[in-house]
Symmetry: C2
């Protein structure tokens, strides 16, 4: 489907699914063609006079600004820290660019800035430079934040989609769907037996531990917009391999599953802000799993499937009752402005 | 005046003048206190395992998206490239974060992306990573762009406000006010005898030449929001020195001056996108001026004044008829959403 089928930008172009993918492939990559973008990774990896760094950017437009388990401030720090970690980099420095809508209450801004401060401390990163713009009332939505990060790569591994190999085990760091459902519950005024809290959290410490322990990591990806399914599809298509998942190994909490059912959503496509997948050779899988489980967290990692040469480019799921289905990339906009 | 005098964000908090300054000094710097922010510079300078880099971020919210002499795309590249140059760094890599309003015409986005591409080529920088978000119609204004840049510092000089010395000469790279007046004319539908075109342009090549030729540079600053007066005031206050300017050495074109008079604006406060000031020791001033004038441009550098111990923190201007006035930092919002 050529890009010109869409004369205007739709919300789905920002949803992390097929239309985002098309915009990147058909407009951005052709315009800025270079080896860094070609890797289709969460961030770029560059060599600066012998020092290997990772560089990644994200804008945060989440609505509402505050939600159970987090807010736009902490999210804007953790999200970029996590993208650096997904490149196998130790996060070091962040920039912050704030676009504020005229009329935002100073007290709200102050709460967000305080949350950014605490999140930066928790993630061991330093916010070193920033920019503030104000747009007229009605031309923004309270607050948008861009953070861009620099991390340092202290190992020799090439962590990227092209390193994924048939036979690799796929590890998932924890249960799915909490962030998306926390936002939706807040936005729609839904209440469940228990309050669903976002999983928004920094994951760099876990990744650093995996690397320090010598785990061979072929690829990592955090499961934000488009969820698990879109992340796996992107990698499967970039590397042209198949992936087979086992549904019962993919953890979704009961309250999240119930919320998804009410809203007609599939948790495998819902955005997370503190979950990631790791591709490791089979010999390293068990050890990597143990390292990931060694952190005292309220979620637990699992091995959810593997990579093969079957059905290149496709991701399939074996359900609890033994049926198979193909998991496609997210189509349309499942949850707008989730991050 | 404590920050709490303003219960809400005003447009002026993004104007680059006093309120922006207050927001930075009273909210952002206390929250993220670290040596990088303390330098009060356009970007941060960091050492990464022995490699010295500069890191800077800017969001672009200019309205309208296209204007005589430029557009948001080229501006988002040149602006960040220039900020890196102001740190004395060779610009190398950029990230781009786009926040698009639902309904933006694809053709508009395509023109902007193409303009970014050309500007990146012209500035010898590579756009290595990006992010796209879409916000609902009515919650943005067509397109906002954040770019964040990394440059490498290949010399031993400490280019920052704290290096400014009494006796330093102040060089200005060209005439003032074109960018602001180009935007205002477009926005207000004003027409003058000649069309005023923005001065938006990359200046890194000039800065690199100054450095290659061994010029001692104490500080540089590009003259965006708040214009020449605000930039000088910021440095004068940070370093606690006085600055004396000679009005007749400050070039403002006739059409720009006329436009300013019609709109009741002072060109010394109007934003530029391709102009900067350089502080050099007196012995280097003439040579630096010649280097700056050696580029075939339609604007010309001049020595506009000097630094002294008189009236620390204040910037004074001697007019053509010999009167003196104090140039204060911009108060209020002179030109909203100029960059």
């Amino acid at each position: 489907m050529p890009l010109t089928d869409y004369p205007k930008i739709l919300l789905a172009h920002g949803g992390g699914g097929k239309l985002t993918h098309q915009l990147i492939e058909k407009m951005f990559i052709p315009a800025f063609r270079n080896g860094h973008l070609d890797s289709r990774h969460d961030g770029a990896v560059m060599d600066l006079n012998g020092v290997k760094i990772a560089f990644t950017t994200d804008s945060y437009v989440v609505h509402p600004l505050f939600f159970p388990g987090g807010d736009i401030g902490s999210m804007s720090i953790y999200g970029t820290v996590n993208d650096l970690a997904m490149c196998g980099a130790r996060p070091l420095y962040l920039s912050a660019g704030l676009i504020i809508e005229e009329g935002l209450r100073m007290e709200v801004l102050s709460r967000v800035v305080n949350s950014m401060k605490q999140a930066a401390q928790k993630s061991s990163v330093t916010l070193v430079t920033g920019d503030t713009k104000v747009v007229d009332k009605g031309k923004g939505d309270g607050l948008f934040i861009n953070t861009t990060g620099i991390g340092i790569i202290e190992h020799q591994q090439d962590i990227s989609p092209k390193s994924v190999q048939p036979g690799d085990k796929i590890l998932l760091s924890g249960d799915l769907g909490r962030h998306g459902m926390a936002i939706m519950a807040e936005r729609e005024g839904l209440s469940f037996e228990s309050q669903i809290k976002s999983d928004s959290a920094p994951v760099a410490e876990i990744v650093m531990k995996l690397l320090e322990e010598g785990t061979q990591i072929h690829c990592m990806r955090d499961l934000t917009r488009g969820g698990l399914s879109s992340a796996l599809n992107e990698i499967a298509q970039t590397r042209n391999v198949g992936m087979q998942l086992i549904e019962e190994n993919i953890s979704v909490r009961g309250d999240v599953r119930a919320a998804c059912e009410i809203l007609g959503l599939d948790p495998l496509y819902v955005a997370n802000e503190g979950r990631f997948i790791v591709f490791v050779p089979p010999a390293d899988a068990k050890r990597a799993l143990n390292i990931m489980r060694s952190f005292p967290l309220d979620w637990e990692a699992s091995i959810i499937g593997e990579v093969s040469n079957d059905m290149p480019g496709a991701v399939t799921l074996t359900s609890k009752i033994g049926t198979h289905r193909v998991l496609d990339m997210l189509t349309g906009e499942q949850l707008p402005r989730i991050c």
